[in-house]
């Protein structure tokens, strides 16, 4: 994929690449306790931190978190992966969508501690090691499927889930099964077109 193809998305792409390498260079956070130490053995007090270990974008993380921390806040504030966005914090907008064990979920309504041992994929984890965008990312660039871009990481993660589930058959299906991702800029027609392109490309691959 050439840089020229990106056109207006150039600075966005460079930003994505930059944030990926920043994450890779980051040390494990608070790696104090051992990975799969069960908290049920002796529940701590409500204000004690709990050990949570999960893989995020194929890297292991051992975190010490307040039980109240959402997966979204863990990713953004504790791991430093700010690609995942907070729109409503109440399950109503889809901006915080990530994949957990390959399935799209809302990270704002998931307590981080309930993700012990799981594999999390965020938008930062989509670019291949040689820097090539994921087909869904590339399709969003090709179709200009955003304006402000705030909903975009959630749209992209949700689109990947939607395609993997087999719910991207027709444009009507896409609209129905992507309805959990709101776009305040109303880039919907372009988002649907992007998903059609990405679906076909993923099917061919």
């Amino acid at each position: 994929m050439s840089e020229a193809k990106i056109a207006s998305g150039l600075s966005r792409r460079m930003f994505m690449t930059a944030s990926v390498s920043a994450v890779a260079a980051m040390p494990l956070v608070n790696s104090s306790k051992s990975a799969d130490q069960p908290t049920s053995a002796k529940p701590a007090g409500p204000r004690d931190l709990s050990a949570v270990s999960m893989r995020i974008n194929k890297q292991p993380y051992n975190l010490a978190l307040d039980n109240r921390t959402s997966l979204l806040d863990a990713l953004r504030d504790h791991v430093g992966l700010t690609g995942t966005k907070k729109g409503c914090d109440h399950g109503q907008c889809g901006a915080c969508t990530v994949l957990v064990d390959g399935k799209r979920v809302l990270s704002c309504l998931s307590f981080a501690i309930m993700n012990q041992g799981r594999e999390i994929t965020t938008v930062e984890g989509l670019v291949s090691t040689d820097g090539e965008l994921h087909p869904v990312q590339q399709a969003f660039v090709d179709h200009d499927a955003f304006q402000c871009g705030y909903c975009t990481p959630g749209q992209i993660m949700s689109a990947i889930g939607c395609i993997n589930e087999g719910h991207a058959g027709s444009e009507d299906d896409i609209r129905e099964y992507m309805s959990g991702n709101l776009c305040r800029c109303a880039a919907y027609p372009n988002i649907v077109a992007a998903i059609v392109q990405a679906r076909d490309e993923i099917r061919r691959a």
Binding site: P38, T39, S40, P43, A44, G45, P46, R47, S50, D66, N67, R68, S70, D89, H90, G91, G94, T97, K103, R104, V105, L106, L109, S110, F111, I113, M114, Q116, S158, G161, C162, E165, H167, R175, E176, Y177, M178, S179, G180, N181
Partner: protein, 340 residues
């Protein structure tokens, strides 16, 4: 959010044990100090809003019993484990074929992400979205017994017209529950006192004078499974949901319909109404009016009039009565036209 202790039991009996020993009060489960969590899509939201304030959460996702995650299709019933996700049940080919109503009520609820998270057990126990219940600065008899009801004279467009009381008019917003009550489902429950099976129709309580008590469950009781009998009406069934927007919205009005037909005539009809009542709502009297009749538009309208005969509107929700009737008429006629 109130700080909480987090527990990861591995079996139903240990989950029940924790709930029993950690909790002393007689409060309904929703006010108990110890609460179960499954998908968390309802409870985490209400904890963040300060509406629910458990000091101990018991995670059900670490329970190992396989049946909790299985959908079993038997000759005369479909059994759903309580931890089956909404998306798994909605996408199950046998469920879709044997009983479209069940699959549709899940498919048109919430969003793709929420359906991947939410469990069937948690789904039927989801709490109302009444705006005054959600915002803790308002008086609300359900959240704070005796404080009053801000919705009564407030903006009550979303609120119920059936099954209301002077204390509370909050709607029950779930969709799946309408399918379950129409189809005569049962729930399996396990608690300190042992196991019991309850008619789904007995699970939810109308608000009456104690809208804070929402179900028949005790704080130590866990739903383990939901069973739906398969009957002649199962395959000719559908869920029609009418919303402010086409998708990703709660029902303003909905109808769950299942029909057993003898040619043009109705042998047996099953009807439930969503978005309009305080609890999952079976319209038994409307079902009776259809028995033995030719199901044409006039008969459907007569049944809809009966279904809403006792409806009590407030200032902003009177539109739900004509809307609810039209929804039911359309659902009846569309179900009639399905292949049995």
């Amino acid at each position: 959010m109130r700080p909480f202790v987090y527990e990861r039991p591995t079996s139903v009996s240990s989950a029940v044990d924790i709930a029993t020993h950690a909790d002393t009060g007689q409060s309904p489960p929703t006010a108990a100090n110890t609460q179960f969590i499954a998908g968390g899509t309802n409870l985490a939201d209400y904890m963040r809003l300060g509406v629910a304030q458990p000091e101990r959460l018991i995670d059900l996702n670490t329970l190992v019993e396989p049946a909790l995650r299985q959908i079993r299709i038997e000759d005369d019933a479909i059994r759903f484990g309580a931890l089956v996700r909404m998306s798994e049940a909605a996408d199950n080919g046998d469920v879709r074929r044997r009983c479209p109503l069940l699959a549709e009520s899940l498919q048109f609820a919430a969003s793709g992400q929420l359906r991947n998270m939410a469990s069937l057990g948690g789904n039927v126990l989801q709490r109302t979205r009444c705006e005054y219940f959600r915002e803790t600065s308002w008086p609300c008899n359900k959240r704070e017994p005796g404080s009053g009801c801000a919705a009564m004279e407030g903006f009550n467009r979303q609120h119920a017209v059936l099954g209301t009381s002077d204390a509370c008019i909050a709607a029950y917003h779930g969709d799946f529950a309408q399918a379950l009550i129409a189809l005569g489902a049962t729930v399996d429950i396990e608690g300190q006192q042992g196991r019991r099976t309850l008619a789904f129709a007995k699970l939810h309580r109308r608000p009456g004078e104690t809208p804070n008590i929402e179900t028949d469950l005790a704080a130590d009781e866990l739903i383990t499974a939901i069973e739906v009998p398969l009957a002649p009406w199962s395959s000719r069934s559908r869920y029609l949901k009418i919303r402010d927007r086409e998708s990703y919205a709660f029902a303003l009005a909905s109808a769950a319909v299942a029909l057993d037909m003898d040619g043009e005539r109705v042998r047996s009809a099953r009807i439930a109404l969503g978005g309009v009542a305080t609890v999952p709502w079976r319209a038994s009297a409307a079902e009776d009016t259809l028995k033995g009749k030719v199901l044409d538009e006039a008969a459907a309208r007569a049944a809809a009039d009966v279904a809403f005969a006792d409806a009590k509107p407030r200032e902003h929700n009177a539109f739900k009565i004509p809307l609810g009737k039209r929804t039911l008429v359309r659902a009846l006629l569309e179900t009639r036209d399905m292949k049995g």
